[in-house]
Structures are given as C-alpha cells and as structure tokens.
Amino acid sequence: MAETHESAGFARRARRLLLAWVALIALMLCSLGSAYLRLEPWNAVVGLAIAALKSAIVLWLFMDLARAGALVRIVAATALATLVLLLGLTQVDYRTRRPAPAPLQPAQQLRTPSGALR
C-alpha cells in the first residue's frame, strides 16, 4: 500500500517536471521568435520577462522552492533583493550625474638622449 502511494507521488512529480521542461522549451522558442519582431522598445522587456518566467519555473519546480521552508525562501529573496538594490542604486548614480570627463593631460612625448623626439 505504502509503495503504491510513493509510486503515485513520484509519477505526479515526474509529470510536473516533464510539463515544466515542455514549458521551458516553448518559452525559449517564444523568446527567440519575439526577437525577430520589431517591437522596439519592448524587445528587451519581452526577452527579460520571458527569462524571468523561465527562471521562476526552474526555481519553483526544479530547485523546489515551492516545497522549501521559510529559511530557504528568505535566503533566496534576500539574494534577489540585494541584487536589485545594488543594480538600482548604481543606476541612480549614473542617471543623476552629469558626465564630467576628467581633463586629459596632453600626450607627453619622450625625448631620446640626443634630444630628438621619438
């Protein structure tokens, strides 16, 4: 009895993994197809949105975040939040500063011992 229960559980899990794989390949093809459509400026957004969806599937089903405990979820969320925070705050810097290139030194020419320019 216990064995058939385990077996059913495994079959369900395997089926879910198979569906996830089919979805991932389909999304990959959608991502490829969308890149050939002229959607400017949405091409990048669509590409990244599909990538986010694909990684959500990998994280949720392959990496088992769906069944993970609170501690693991907090670690994953913290890592993601830190990345977003660092990317965001760095962007703030680039977006708000006026580019002020450092005044370049004029190119220095070397003199040979005889005094001629090289």
Partner: protein, 211 residues
C-alpha cells in the same frame, strides 16, 4: 549524543538535509552577486551604446546559442528528475544515469561554446587589435562583456559537470558520501548555472535580430 533510535536517526538525517540545502542556497546568493557586477556593467554599457550593442549582438551565433539554451534546460530537467528519483521511491537505480545524462548535455554545451569561441576568434570578434567592428561605438565593449559573462558561466558549468560526474559515479557505486542531501545540493548548483544562462541568452544573443 549518539542517535541510535530510528526516529532520532531520521530526525538527524532531515536536519542534515536541510542544512546542506540551506548552505547551498546561501552560497548561490553570493554567486548571484558575483555575476551581478558584470550584469551591472552590461546594463550601463547597453543603455549608453544601444546601437553598438545591437549591431554587435547581431554578430553572435543565434542558432548555437539557442541550441545551447535547449541543452541546459533539458539537462536541468534530467537532474531535477534524478533528485525526484531519490529516497523511498524505489527508483534509486535511475539516479546515476540521469546525473550522467545531465553531465553529458553540459559537456555538449561546453563543446558547442568552444566551437562558437573559435569561429568568433576567426571572425575577428575577440576584443583587441584587429577587432572587426572597430568603427561601431560600444561594439567592442559588448564583446568584452560577452566573453567575460560566457567565460565565467562556462567555468561554473565545468564545475557543475565535475560535480554531476562525481555524484553519478558515487551513487552508482553506492558510496556513503554520495548521500541524497549532497546530490540535492549539487543539483541546486546546476539549476543556478542554468538560471544564469536563461538571462544571458536574451542579453547576449537576442539584442537586435529584427534590424
């Protein structure tokens, strides 16, 4: 305290599995930030030289990139299935084969990536003197980031293949060190490398295909 009672032993095993998984997740968090620096550089450069990035990205080999994406997604699915086969499902004998298949797909990915690098070198797309797109502003920066990101990813993948091969052999020979919790931790690492590639694929190969 020795855990001689079955229930205690079971509890200890569960705690050990949780610790292994948590440790791997924390490591992967630091890995995410490791790639984060390069992603930041990419974000900055792409928003400053959108045209150059578009033209440079159009020179990458989209067929090989897509094929490699498919290989990694499939290998991840096989490794996830290997983890599902562990424990009391009675399918433990599949584990080494599934891990081995995952490692084989990873090796195929690296071989294709190597082939791709070779043709890019020949086309003059490697940054430096003789770079083919010298006249396009930002194109060289794109390829600097392309080689850094894919190179760093390939190093991670190589480590992943070594892990899968080791655990494939370990589980086949039923070694004590190839415990399910460790296979699970190695699988987490493999999936992470897959997730990194999922983002690299549109960022490097699909910037401007419609132009």
């Amino acid at each position: 305290m020795s855990a001689s009672l079955p229930l205690e032993r079971h509890r200890e095993a569960v705690a050990a599995a949780r610790t292994a998984s948590l440790g791997m997740w924390i490591f992967l968090g630091s890995e995410l930030l490791f790639f984060g620096g390069l992603l930041m550089a990419y974000l900055y450069a792409r928003t400053h030289w959108p045209q150059g990035f578009g033209q440079a990205s159009a020179r990458t080999h989209v067929v090989l990139g897509t094929l490699n994406t498919g290989l990694l997604l499939t290998s991840s699915a096989l490794v996830a299935l290997a983890v599902a086969c562990q424990g009391p499902t009675g399918r433990g004998r599949w584990v080494p084969w599934l891990l081995g298949a995952g490692a084989a797909l990873g090796t195929a990915f690296l071989a294709i990536k190597g082939w791709e690098y070779r043709s890019e070198w020949r086309e003059g797309l490697f940054p430096g003197p003789g770079f083919a797109l010298k006249a396009v502003a930002g194109a060289e920066l794109f390829f600097v980031l392309y080689f850094l990101l894919t190179g760093l990813h390939s190093v991670h993948l190589l480590v992943g293949v070594a892990l899968l091969v080791a655990f494939g052999r370990g589980t086949r020979k039923k070694r004590a060190w190839a415990a399910p919790r460790r296979v699970e931790a190695a699988a987490l690492y493999w999936h992470f490398v897959d997730v990194v590639w999922i983002f690299l694929y549109p960022l490097l190969y699909l910037v401007n295909r419609h132009g």
